[in-house]
Each structure stands twice: as structure tokens, then as C-alpha cells.
Symmetry: D2
Subunit: 287 residues, 4 copies
């Protein structure tokens, strides 16, 4: 679907000082790169500088595999926490799902329409429920019957499978299992969950029931990177919808689904376009 | 500002059964009342029936002071928790404020434009800061220098003053003192607070600082009736606004102000128009 | 999916006068009906009264086929424009679609999850594109290759087909053909279209291109009943989404799709639940 | 209120080519400037490059009055449409108002709280109504009784007055007079109007009446630069609020006021912070 020429995307954070943009843009110019988009942001509280710059590499004088090495001296000089991505290297996603299929359908349909511009490598579930959906969309389906006894073993198999297929993004599209620290550690900042409340309100189980009990007038959803602390990872995106006293728990679930789908898909697009930096359990979003 | 003829407003909840609407509307019809607006709502979970009905009393055959007595047999028959209000009996509000004046200004300006259709009887503060604002709008100002030692004594004086002036709604327009259970008990479901977060997230002190630390992508405000449990009372209205990683705590405070003002003013209008029933720490809103 | 007992729903508008609610609710009570939900609304400008009342008919003393006849004298007395619907008589929908399939998928998935509680009788298209979708969801698909020459003939066949299958709601889920007055007349207030702009802005063709040209900061979608005047029918629901100067026409289309889906589905649910009255080219929504 | 060190802000658009960012950031670095914030944007359709860069000038080796001259060769080389602003040179605003005062109050209160960080030099009105407000806030008030006969003469006097006081931003805060092309030409891209509809819907007079007639489910407001074509200038900001069939024209006006205030204040802040470029009757917003 991409009509654009291939581009390189540099993301970094570093202590703020003079000359960073000049040196980075001079580096790009030296090799004949044309900057397509660039954002800088300075956090005065921590004196940290954040930057995302994307440049056309179709005539770049350096072959792409040599770019990191050539850039490294600048990164070292400014003590950057950095990475370089390429727009034509497609993200390889695995979707984890349990029985609820609305987020799964949503991701698959947005993928089909070219809106989610990544490869969906597999669907992985602890139930057989969504297998026919996987078949309809032509995505390989893997069934891992996780329970308390098998969890550790199953996770090892999952990790092996994901690595074998070069998966670099795990999407928890209403996956009702908690991942172990071991699993999370393997995919640091590469697991995106959708939680069905506006966190930090209603963390944990049954957020719609909690919301109903409390009598809130808005409900929401939160997409975040998964960390070892449940529902505590860096928030990528949130949104809400109005509800009223007339709504039953079932109504909240139904209204919430629309927000879950929107919030998850926006987070996926931001991740896939390499627009997110994680800094101190918060996200910097370059949109 | 009211161009409408005077009307009576009946609000009640009761166990659901047949014939309630028929009997209530027949009562109104018997005395020649014309129904202007009416809402019913049935909560299947608790089998409770809620109703608000408003009728023109300009030709009503019963004088208004006799309406409650005439209606009482129906209320008893259906075991109603009920009240009758009259549209031309204006709510008498007292506004409690500390130093922050944006909500105070907002309420006063909406009052001036006829949007908040009530009497603002007094402004009451634990600081002298807002006295000039009270003077500009011609509202009596009372200064109560509350501190730990004086609190009990001050509250007694406040209660006496409010009763003396027939105040029936206390508005905490960013009032930075916690009211005692004694005070709350005197104005059950008649104290409206604006809290500067989307509760239950960020209850307690410094919610904008908490929101900044957590890195949320939306912030909000909540208006609720005050109960003995801090920030736990029945929620009347909530709303949110988007924020980003670029926003400092000061930015959050600034963006939050707009939501606080909107949410507080909507709650006041609902209360003043007698559109709120409290049921099991939740609100039923007849809008 | 409906767990509720069967109910009758009476909707009407009439000149406002005293006693309407009393007489209607007395009628329901007489035969032992229990009112589940009821809304009244009075439009002072035109002196018109609107009412929707829904009652449980599981123990109703009148068989449902006799209800209209029994109610008629009241309707005549108050000069009502009225209808009675039954919750367990499911709406029979036909979905018209061209090539764009996002609204089609959305309706089918919401139907599958029980959110759209109606029968989807058929999908009808002027292209073959969406046939596989119809097959996946098990809905009969009809292909009508409409062009300028065949239009009149095709429409006659379509009308015949719809009547044969008892279709009582036509959904234009991004159907790129204009229906003739003859067709519209056959399904008065029974054709719902989704237009991809916040009407009346950007009526007619290519609204996203128009929006891009004008440089608006929000785009939207509108669902409305189809009348003989293109994009001029009674509006049922609208919503918007923020856009920026960075968005290309393609971005607007993509962001707009989410709004289109939400707005169309909300309109369908309101129609199916018999919550809409049309009055002077505007809708009264009883939610 | 500004706690920040003084900064320079460069804004430009130019044909896209390689090396622009490198050269601009090198220019800043050469003289020891530290970049605080920077945004670039590339419009592929017109092959245009847009940039806003802000740098700390507290240790800048060039005195500020020499910066434009030193930068000019780069601007010429890349054929830039450019300007340089300084954060500590405060915008000098004049507020034009008729009788409606809600936007006026809103701007004055946001100014008082430091949110609108500019000098409000004067309030100018074709009515005496708002004079007491001007006095309360300590802002000079000028009364210009405009009518058909006096309009040309009055406008000349207004222009002279504005120039005499160094006004560089004219805010039409619900000013019910149409400015002549002569006036508009004097303040190109320096007059901000608030229109009480989501343009292009309901341009011209009485938008709330038009919205009521059409039966829309959302109403909105639009802030835009004033051009010779009424309500056709570049849109800066828009927002909406939901309404229903229950809302009278008066209700729409009341609900609309809140949107008008928000939309106008956001536009003013964007302008004052030099975050807006006008390009082909659209705005590029660097936020």
C-alpha cells in the first residue's frame, strides 16, 4: 500500500544541549538525504531532548546497513538513547486473543484496507473460538491451551514460535491471560495491550462492572505497553464515551467496544510508524 | 429570565409495578394540569421505577401548598421516595471558594446571562482573595478563616448563616477545605463539588500532578454530591480533554480549568432544574 | 439475543392539550400492561406533543392484533399521528452497498454480536465486489447492475424483491447510486443513508475532497432518512473527528470511516428500537 | 507570566529540497542558539516544506535586530516565505465587540490568569454596552457608533487608532459588523473572527436559527482569519457540541457560547505563540 519512497526514521532522547539538530541534520544532508518530517521536543523538567526525524533514503549515499555505524559517533557524543528504523521494513505482528473477537476483527479489517500497514504473521489464542476468523482472513492460527499448570511451558513455546517467525510486535487484542515477567522481558516495549477502562481508573478485572458500580458518566479504554506491573505500563492512547444511568453493564460493554477498537488501532498505527518513544514509564508521541 | 408558566415537578423512585404512570398522570389530569415533560425509567436489576413529571400549574385546581398532601396517598400506596418542586421557587445557592477563581467567575457569569437560573445568595471563602469579584457582581461576601483549631466553630457559624438565608444548595467551586460529616449531614444531596479529575482516577490531593506522573492522555473533571467519604459521592457529570506528553503540570491545570467549569455548570443546571435523583450512591439524570 | 419479555411501543405526535398522558397510560393500565419506559416532549413553538411509551405485553389482556383498533378512538380524539410497534417483531433490513465495504462489515459484525437486533434479509449491490463478504456472513446477495439505461427497470425489480421478502428497512451503507423518487416513495422514512460529511456542509459528491480544499479542522458523518431531495432528509445522528493540515485526502477518508461506521450504527439502532419520530423534516429521538 | 528565557521563532514555507533543516539548524548553532522546539512538515501534493523552529537567544551571539539580516541569504537561497518573531515581544491585541459579552469576558479572564499571554491594548465597540466590563478589567474602551453612513469614516479612525497604539492583532469577539476590504487589507492575517457555526455550514447571519431549522444533531464554532470573503478565510480552529430535538434556538445559543469561547481562545493562543502559517487559504498549525 505504501506509495512513498523508502525512508529512514531516527528516534532518540538525550540530555539537552546546543547543536543536536544541527549535527543530526548535517549528517543527513552530507549523504544527500531529504528530510520529510521532523519533530523535536524539549522537556525542561528533566532537561531532556527528544527527536524524531524521517528522511527519504532513495538517493542516500550510504547503504542502509551502514547508517547506524556512521551515525554512532554522534549518538555517543550526545549520550543518546537511540534507534533507526526503515519505513519499508514492515512490522511483523502477532495478535493474541481469547474469546472476544471485536478487536481482532477490527485489526484484521484495518489491515485489509491498508490502514494498518504491517504484516500480521499469526493469530495466537488460548481458545479455538477465533480460528474461523483467522481462516477467513488467511492468517495462520495457533492454539495454546494455557492453564495454571501449562502456563510456563506454553509461554516458552510461544516465545520460540514468535522468534522463529521474526515477530517484533505482540498485540493483546482482548487477551485474557497475564503474561509472565519472562515473556514481557523478551518483548520490552513491543507488547501492546488494550485495557477496557480509562486507566488508572478501574485497573484489574471487570472494569465495566466496576464502572457501573461507581456510577461514572464516562467510560473509556487505554492502550499501553505491557510491563511487569499489571495495567501500569506506559500509556500510548486513551479515549472515552459518554454513558448514563440507563446503561446496564451489558450496555457499557457494548459502548466500550467501540472505544477499545479505536484506541487499540491508533496505538498500533503510532507504533508501526515508529512515532513512540518510551521515557520513564511515559510515552512521547511524535504525531 | 423564565418565560415559562409556573410548573410543578414530581420526582420519585419506587418498586416497579403496574399502574404507576396511569395513577400519577390521572392525578395531574384530575386537577387540570397539563404535562409539559415526563420521563420514566425502569431499572430491571433492582426492579425500581424512576419518574420525573413536570406539569403546568397555571390553571391547576389545587393550590400548590395542597398538592403534596393530595398526592401523598398515591406515594404511600406505591412506597415512593418522592419530592415535589416548583419551577418558580428559585434555588438559593451559596458558593464556597478558596483562592482559585475560574469556577466562581464562570458560575457568576452564567448566572448573569440567565443560564444558571437561581439566586446566588452569598459567596463564602476561607480567603479574602475573591472579595472584589463578589463586589463586582454585587453578591454578599463572607470571610471565614478556617484552620484546624477554628474549623468546628467556623462550620457552626457557616451552617447558621446558610440557614438564616434559606440556602438550599452549597456549591464548592474549588473550595480547598474538607467539610465535616456534621456539615454534610445538614445538606444531604445539596452540596455539589467539582473535583479536578475523572473520578475514581486521581482522587484526593493534586490530581493534575498525579495525572502528569502517570502519563495519561486525557484528563477530566467530575462534579458530584458531597458525602462523608471524600470524592466518593454520587457522580452527577464528568467530562475530559485530551493532553499530550508536551503538557507540563501547569498546562494540565490550564486545560483542566475549562473542563471543570463546564462540568460544574452542567451539574448545577441539572440540580436547579430538579433533574437529579440519587439512588444507591448513583444519580439518575432526567435530561 | 433479546432477553426481555415482548413489549408494545406506541409513538405519536399530536396537538398539545391536557389529559393525553393520563388517557394513554390509563389505556395501558386497563388491560394490565406494565410501562417499561416512557418519554414525553412538548414543543412550545408548534404546540405539539410527542410521546413514546413502551409496555410489557406478556400479561396484556388484549391480544396484540387488537391493540391498534382498541387504541384508535384515543388517537382520533387527540388527532394523533401514531403507530404501534412490537419489540419481538424484528425489523427486516436490506443493505445496499457499492464497492466500499467498511460500513457493510460494521453492520454485519454488530449484527453478529447481537448489537443490531434485526434480521439482515439481503445484501444488494450494483457491483459484485462484496459478494464474498455476504457469503462469509451467510446473507443472500443480489447483484443489480444499475446504469443510466437500466436504472428504472432495476429499481422496479429491487422494489419487487424487497416487498417479496418483507423488507421494512433499507440501509444505504455507502451505496453510490441516487434512488428515484418512486423508490423513495415506496419506503418513506424507511431508508437510512450515511453521508460522509457533517451536513449541511459538503453535501453532494466527494465531501472529503471538499473538506480538504476548505481546510476544515473537523470532519464528520451524518445518517439521515432519504427523501426526494438529495442529502436533505431528516437527520438522525451526526458525529465528527478532528483532523489537521497534515492529513491528506486519503487520511481524511480513513479517519472518516470510523465516524461513518459509528454514526450509521447508532442510527440503525435508534430506528430498530422504534425511537425515532419524523416531524417536519426533523427527527425527534426518544433515547 | 513567562518564566522562559527569550526565544526567537522562525516560520517559513518554501519549495521542498534537500538541506533546508541542516542549513537552518547550522545557522542557529553557529551563533550558539539552543533549539527548544522544532517542527517540519512536507506537503507532497504541492511539494512545499513548512518549518517552525524556536531557539533560546539568551546567549545568542547575534543581537536580535541583526538576526533577520543574517538569515536573509538562506531565505533567498531557498525562496522562503518567512518571518522571525520573538517570544518576549508581546502581541498587542485590540478586541472588537458588539453587545454579546461572553467571548469578551472569556478573553479578559484568560488574560488575567496568564493563559492569553499578550497585551490587551483596547476594547473597541459599536455599542456602549460593554464599557463597564472594560473598566472592571482596566482596559481602555473606545466607542465607534458605526452605521451605513459613518462606516467608512469610522473605519479610518479605527485604523488610525490601532496603528497609533501599535496593535498587531484584531480580535472580533462577536463583533456584528462586516469589515471593509480596506480594513482587512491593513491587517492581513491579523484579524481573527469567531463564527458561531462549524463552517462551511451555516455561513452568514443567524447560524443557530439555520441549525435549528435544519435539525442538526451537532452545532459548532469556527475561528478563522478574516479575508475579503465573508466567512471564507483560513480556518484556525473548530469544535462542536451535541444538541437534540429538545433544544430550542435559545438552547442552541447557550450551548454554542461554550464552544465559541473555547474555539476563539485556542485560536488566539496559537496566533500569539506564532504557531500558524497561512498557505493557500488554509492554515498550517505547529502544535
Amino acid at each position: 500500500m505504501k506509495q512513498h519512497p523508502p525512508s529512514a526514521i531516527l528516534l532518540f532522547s538525550c540530555p539537552d544541549t546546543k547543536g543536536i539538530v544541527a549535527e543530526v541534520s548535517h549528517f543527513i544532508f552530507t549523504y544527500g538525504g531529504n528530510i520529510l518530517q521532523s519533530h523535536q521536543h524539549n522537556d525542561p523538567e528533566t532537561n531532556t531532548f527528544f527527536m524524531r526525524v524521517e528522511w527519504d533514503i532513495s538517493d542516500f549515499a550510504l547503504p542502509r546497513e551502514k547508517i547506524p555505524q556512521a551515525f554512532e559517533p554522534i549518538a555517543i557524543k550526545y549520550r543518546m538513547d537511540w534507534r533507526i528504523e526503515f519505513s519499508d521494513k514492515r512490522t511483523r505482528m502477532a495478535i493474541f486473543v481469547s474469546k472476544q473477537d471485536h478487536c481482532l476483527y477490527d485489526v484484521l479489517l484495518r489491515h485489509k484496507e491498508g490502514e494498518i500497514d504491517a504484516d500480521i504473521v499469526m493469530i495466537l489464542s488460548n481458545h479455538e473460538t477465533t480460528r474461523p476468523i483467522a481462516e477467513y482472513f488467511g492468517v495462520p492460527f495457533y492454539y495454546f491451551p494455557v492453564n495454571r499448570e501449562t502456563k510456563e511451558e506454553m509461554e516458552e513455546k510461544e516465545i520460540a514460535l514468535l522468534k522463529e517467525h521474526g515477530v517484533d510486535l505482540v498485540v493483546l487484542a482482548r487477551y485474557m491471560q497475564i503474561l509472565s515477567p519472562r515473556f514481557v522481558g523478551e518483548f520490552r516495549n513491543r507488547i501492546i495491550n488494550i485495557h477496557h477502562s480509562f486507566l488508572p481508573a478501574f485497573a484489574g478485572a471487570k472494569p465495566y462492572h466496576q464502572a457501573y458500580e461507581r456510577g461514572v458518566k464516562i467510560i473509556g479504554a487505554t492502550s499501553h505497553y505491557v510491563t511487569e506491573d499489571l495495567d501500569e505500563g506506559p500509556i500510548i492512547e486513551q479515549d472515552v464515551v459518554r454513558v448514563s444511568h440507563r446503561d446496564t453493564v451489558r450496555d457499557l460493554m457494548q459502548k466500550g467496544k467501540d472505544v477499545e477498537k479505536l484506541v487499540l488501532s491508533r496505538a498500533l498505527k503510532l507504533h508501526i510508524d515508529h512515532r513512540i518513544l518510551v521515557f520513564r514509564n511515559r510515552t512521547v508521541i511524535f504525531d
